[in-house]
Every structure is written in structure tokens, then in C-alpha cells.
Symmetry: C2
Subunit: 433 residues, 2 copies
């Protein structure tokens, strides 16, 4: 009955991978889910949140916490989180400009605002391959063209980045390149960390080709603190001299972080450090969107930091996820080692094991394997093809993202076992075993 | 040093009235502010929020409150809020489709998402005159053209609306008209409520001209519950037969509400009831923006309703604002009655007194009056011209929005006194007194 045509932007925002995935999650609710990107339910810090709320609202004159805030985020909260960031960066708090910190509704809102502020339709974003599929959807919605850069177990290849930028310059498209997007620690989907050696080199490539306009390097550090083995590498942001020599060098790295993975996604507080010229356009957009994220949540997160409870929680969270990572990897070894042509990456952090099957075994939603896994064996995964630009005709279609975030150890092991049976059967059916 | 050009959308989002206003608020921080659109700080329900948080997080199995939610809003919370809406609408809960309720980060996010989903650049929105200036900024950012419709003390005139729609049809622009925007109760900025007689007539006009495409009537009911004198009128939404006869009649009214005014803007929960075809595009856009608003806040609001504390709070809030409204109106009478050509509207609810000066007395940020008020007399107001489409060359420039939301009664009276002195002096200087 209605005669309604959604706007061009709304049309570009529809039919995203995340939509398919959520639909599959609903249709296959009876499956053990190695697909869901949620965090471990049992880990969620109910007591800490209640203590923080009691601290805040039990104190005198706390009404201001329930008032409107500012679009960029409560200054006192930004100050607290600057100290937290400085600890991570191993620098003095003053080295991080307070007026270039933004607080958002999860880091997802920051990614979305940045995309809206930076890209016009037809502009170009370079991404790792594979990369975070939700951001691919955001790029689609702003009409950006996406090009995948060679990526290996040390992250995005600086030489590959340099080569593609050179080719784009050659073909006169360099001025359409606005951003390079990298998930720098234990990435979603592949669990890969950009190596220490490559971090400055990626930034150098971006600087070298910023001749027509500034090409930003968006460092999505969502999984930064979920590290289980190693010393945390310095951020790519820490190599950006623009943040240390105020005027002569452009600021090119955008640092995006969130407390959704390390504390609680239901509180939805993300934060970013932005090059100075981005603050106004991003704030203007955010002002139109919501005036600023909820004041209460910002104060909650600040209180959790000030009380020292954040660090305690993080330590136990790492312990919990380390064990689940170990279960996922040992289950992969136990159940998949005998399958020829199956390999996987053992991550040092994050929430995902990335698995590659023989090229002939398609993993997409329409594939026989996906049907077999969800219908016959009641286990679900994320098809790897979602993590490449959809316009890329050569994208791999035989990979899977396996999450160990949600399932508890026994179910996790059982999910891996079921999946191995589905893969094994499918390989037999295709004459590969 | 940076060579960065913001996107077209970012450029359209900059230099909005709200930005000027916030800047003026900062520059004139020493003023008594009749400008700020904040709510009464002392009214903010610290104890109720702490009780609700204790109820929620003191209960077993409350971890899910800290997990990711769904883009459209937690179903159980939507169910609770549907009952609340049904009470307001005097209907059965089942008469409101649960899957057409959306929860957002304040109603501002809903307004923004709707504008993004509905308008392409060059599309047309019809608004009351004056109207909510922040929404004018949102319309600018999506590139919409805005046309003001004749408005009097009974709200937007149905005849004026009908006439303009007829003219647009005549000139072949009808298919670009996508929305009529009305703040239906005690509006921002003028404190005007659309009369009972006009409510169905506005909808009829919109239906009559929805020949090319559906024209939506966006009913912004943000101030609905801040009523101090009268029985609450039925919403415009309640006249939309499309919501009662499932298939034959299109659903055309979008109902937008918020708990920012009636409970706390720092919790930032808004809700809307949307025509069915809008749910998917708005959810798709929201998915890209933030995956869904914070779970914790949604549960907090639901708990406050379930416990009965919301209604108790609302009753005392009304009492508090009624007194302040009385102070503002009696101060207007005391201090402005003697000034020839000055008039104001006494509102039955909401947070604003709308005042009109002689036409020769400009009230804009650059006007002598604004300078005099803020510099010499330390009082600030919102220039009325912000509340008309900026492209309208004939917009009135001699009005002021005076808020009684923030100031306590003594300061409110003193602010009104100071403003009357500034106006009086300015009138004398211009030979009008």
C-alpha cells in the first residue's frame, strides 16, 4: 500500500553481510554458534557495574551525570581515559591532545562517523584482506570503493600497499584515496596482528602518497587489550610524528578503541584520538545524530578506571579467553589435522580462529557445507567471503571465521568437532578425502 | 598542514544553529541562560536510577544486560514501553505493533535516522513556523529543502498545509515532498500544541496529497508528558487508520518520543513507532551507525516503568515545571507588559516561552539587542530566527525563545528582569519607547 522509496544512502546500507549473518543466526538458533561476534556472557562484569553505579549515584551532586553532556564527550571522562590511553601508549597524558579525543556509542559509531565525514561516493578505501566485514558495510553505505591489499600473517603488506597506491597514482585516482583501514591487533576476522616492523612502514607508505590530499590511516585497535601471550606492541598511532611536532607534520593516524570487548558491549563506550582537522566535521555529524553519547555510560566507564577495577577485570578476562583460545586451537588440532588442505591461524589474542579449507570447498551461506553444518550437524560459522570487498571477483570463498567468544569450553570443543565432521563429509562428497 | 576536504555530507552538517548556540553558551558562560535547552538539574532522578540499577544488577543472571543487544532495541524493553505507550494512547498494547517500535539514543537519533532514510538531496520537508531548529540542521545535512507552513497558536494550519501541497503539485514538485514535521505538544520553540480539531485534518491533508508517493507525517511528541494544565490530547498518530486496518490503508504517521525531557537526557533513550516499511531501512542505517543503542540504558528505563517509579517521578516533575512556568509567565507580565509591541505565548506545557518584539528590534546573534543582553545585562536567549528555514528570506527576526528548563525560580525571574531592561533600552535607542 505504501509508495515509499528509501533514500540512496538507505539503499546502499541494506543487504549488508551483518544483516545476512544476523538472519542466519535467527534461522539457525538451534546451532552451536562459532559465528556470533558476541563476548563471553559469563565474563560480563555485573558487580563492577553496580559498584560503579553506586559510587556515582551515591555521591552528592551527581545529578549532572543524568543531564545532557557534550557532543564530543564529558571532558572529565576524556581526561580519565586519556590517562588510560597514555598508559597503553607508554607516554605522558599530555602527549595526547585532550580536545582530539572523542567518545562514541561503541567504536562502531566512530567508524561510521569517520566514514561519513571523509568519503564522498566514488572515493577509495584500502583495506587488509580479509578485514572486518561490518566496516565493509559502512564503506558501501557511503558509496566508497574498496580495494583489498595483500595481507599475510604479519598483517597488511607495506610493499603491497605501496604498489597499489602507485598504481592508483598512475591511473590518476590517487586523489580519490582517502583512507587505509587496518585492524592492528588480533584482528577480526583472522586473529592477525600487524608486526612491529610493518607498523611504521604502513604509515610511511601512507605519508609518501599523501601528495594530493591527506590519506588517513584508520587504526582499529578494538582487540588491543585482548592479548594472551605476548607483550603488547606499540600502536601504529604511536609512530605518527604529527601528534608530537604540532605544526610541521600532518596528523594521519586515527586511533579507534572500545570498551565493548574488554569490558561490556552493553555499556557501549568507544573512544578515538583524531587528527585535529577531523574533530569539527565528526562532531558536527555526531551533533546531528545524537548530541553526544549517553553521559551515564561515560561516567560508568571512567569510574571503573578510576577505581582500579578495570585492570583487575581485564586480567581475569584475559585468563578466561586465553583458556578458550587454547581449547579452540587444540580442538582444531585434534579434529582437523587429518583433513588434507585444511589449515588455521593460532591467534595470540582476540576472539577468532581463521580456518582455510581446500579451495574446492565453498563456505558461503548458499554452499553445501554451510547447509550441512547448520542443518545436519547444528553448528554455525561465518563464511570468510564476507570479509572481502563484495566487488572483488577473485575473493577467496573457502575460508571460515570461528569465534571462541561466546561458547563455553565444552560447547566450543563440541562445536569444533561437529564442524570437522561436516567438513570431512563435504570433502568426501567432493572426492577430496 | 593537512590537506583534507570534508565530505559533502559533512560540509552540509557544519555551521548549524546548534553549533552557534553552543558556542554562544561557552562565550557567555557568565550569563543567566534563558537559552539552554537543558532540563532542570535538581529534578534529575538520581535515586530512582540507582534503585533501578540495583534492581537490575542485584538480580541473578543479569549479565545479558551488559551484552550486545539488537539494533531495533531489546524486545522485552520494547514490550514494556509498548504498554506505556498504550496507556498514553488509551488503546490496548496489541494495537501497537511490537515489531514497529524502535529504541534509539534519544529521539534525536531517531529523527536523524529517519531523515537519512527518507530524504535524498533536493527532496522537500514541510515544517511548522517556527519549528525545532535542531531538526532544521538535520534536514540541511541530508540536503532537503525546507518549506515553512503557516502556523498560529493552534499549531500548523491544515489549510496552509493543503495550499502549499497544492502549489507544489501544480509546479510538478509533489513527488519530492517526503515529510511533514510537526512537534505536536507544547512545541520547541513556541510552546504551542496542535489543537484537537487540527490533528486529524493535518493527517487528512497529508493523505490527500500522497498520490505520487507516501508523504510521512513525523509527529515529534518530545514534550507530550510535560503538560501542566490540561488533559493530554490524543496524538496525531492515534488518528492514523493505517495502524488499525492492516493492509488497505498506508501507515503515514511516525510517532517519536523520548525520556530525555520526562526522565533524564543523560540516559538517552528515545522511542518511535514507525510505519512498517520504514523499519528495515532505518534499522539498516542504525546497524551501520552503532548496532543498537546501549542495552543497559534500555533496561534502566524499562525497570523504572515496571516499578511504577516513572509515573511518580513524572507527577513531581510536572509540579516543579508548572511552578517555573508560572514564574516565567508572571515575570513576563511584570517586566514586559509596559513595553509596547512586546507579546508572548503562555504555554500549557513544555519548557519554553516564545516572545515577540516590535519588528524593528532584531534579536539575532549579531543584533545590538543580543550584544546588549549578553554583554551589559548578562542574560542570554535563543534568537527566534534560528527556528525558521535559513533559506527563507522573509523569516521573522524579532522573536526570542525563553527557556524555563534550567534556571531555578529566583534566577528565572531575575533573568526575565534583566532581559526586559535590555529590550527596553534597545527600544529606547531605536526610538520605540
Amino acid at each position: 500500500m505504501s509508495r515509499f522509496t528509501p533514500s540512496v544512502i538507505a539503499q546502499r546500507s541494506t543487504e549488508q553481510a551483518i544483516g545476512f549473518l544476523m538472519q542466519q543466526g535467527i534461522e539457525n538458533a538451534d546451532c552451536l554458534s562459532l559465528a556470533a561476534g558476541f563476548v563471553d556472557l559469563e565474563s560480563l562484569p555485573v558487580e563492577l557495574v553496580l559498584e560503579a553505579a553506586t559510587d556515582i549515584f551515591g555521591a552528592a551532586n551527581s545529578q549532572h551525570v543524568l543531564q545532557y553532556g557534550t557532543t564530543q564527550g564529558v571532558p572529565a571522562v576524556r581526561d580519565t581515559l586519556r590517562t588510560y590511553l597514555a598508559d597503553l601508549e607508554n607516554c605522558k597524558p599530555e602527549a595526547i591532545p585532550l580536545d582530539q579525543i572523542m567518545l562514541t556509542t561503541g567504536s562502531q559509531q566512530l567508524l561510521s562517523l569517520l566514514a561519513q565525514a571523509i568519503f564522498d561516493p566514488g572515493d577509495i578505501c584500502l583495506v587488509a584482506a580479509p578485514t572486518y566485514f561490518v566496516f565493509l558495510g559502512v564503506l558501501d553505505s557511503v558509496g566508497a570503493n574498496v580495494i583489498a591489499i595483500d595481507t599475510d600473517n604479519d598483517g597488511m603488506c607495506p610493499d603491497g600497499l605501496d604498489r597499489v597506491l602507485g598504481e592508483l597514482a598512475e591511473s590518476g585516482q590517487l586523489e580519490r584515496v582517502k583512507m587505509v583501514y587496518v585492524v592492528s591487533y588480533h584482528d577480526n576476522p583472522a586473529g592477525i596482528t600487524v608486526s612491529e616492523e610493518r607498523r611504521p612502514r604502513l604509515l610511511e607508505a601512507v605519508r609518501r602518497w599523501s601528495t594530493k590530499n591527506t590519506i588517513y590511516l584508520l587504526e582499529d585497535a578494538a582487540y588491543r587489550e585482548l592479548c594472551y601471550d605476548e607483550v603488547m606492541l606499540p600502536s601504529i598511532w604511536s609512530y605518527d610524528d604529527g601528534f608530537r611536532s604540532p605544526d610541521s607534520i600532518p596528523q594521519q593516524v586515527i586511533l579507534s578503541q572500545t570498551f565493548s570487548k574488554s569490558f561490556s558491549p552493553g555499556v557501549r563506550v568507544g573512544l578515538g584520538v583524531l587528527p585535529r582537522e577531523l574533530i569539527k566535521p565528526v562532531s558536527d555529524l555526531k551533533g546531528n545524530e545524537d548530541f553526544g553519547s549517553a553521559n551515564v555510560n561515560q561516567h560508568l566507564i571512567a569510574r571503573v578506571h578510576e577505581s582500579g577495577r578495570y585492570q583487575t577485570h581485564l586480567n581475569s578476562l584475559r585468563e578466561r579467553y586465553r583458556k578458550k583460545r587454547d581449547v579452540a586451537v587444540s580442538a582444531a588440532e585434534e579434529y582437523f589435522s587429518d583433513l588434507t588442505g585444511v589449515s588455521w591461524h593460532s591467534p595470540n589474542g582476540g576472539l577468532y580462529v581463521w580456518m582455510s579449507l581446500p579451495e574446492q570447498i565453498a563456505t558461503g551461506f548458499d554452499s553445501p557445507l554451510f547447509q550441512r553444518a547448520t542443518q545436519a550437524h547444528k553448528v554455525m560459522y561465518v563464511p570468510g567471503e564476507l570479509c572481502y570487498p563484495s566487488e572483488d571477483e577473485n575473493r577467496p570463498c573457502h575460508e571460515m571465521r570461528l569465534s571462541f567468544g561466546v561458547l563455553q569450553p565444552d560447547d566450543l570443543r563440541e562445536g569444533m568437532r561437529r564442524l570437522s565432521v561436516a567438513v570431512s563429509e563435504q570433502m568426501q562428497e567432493q572426492g577430496l578425502a
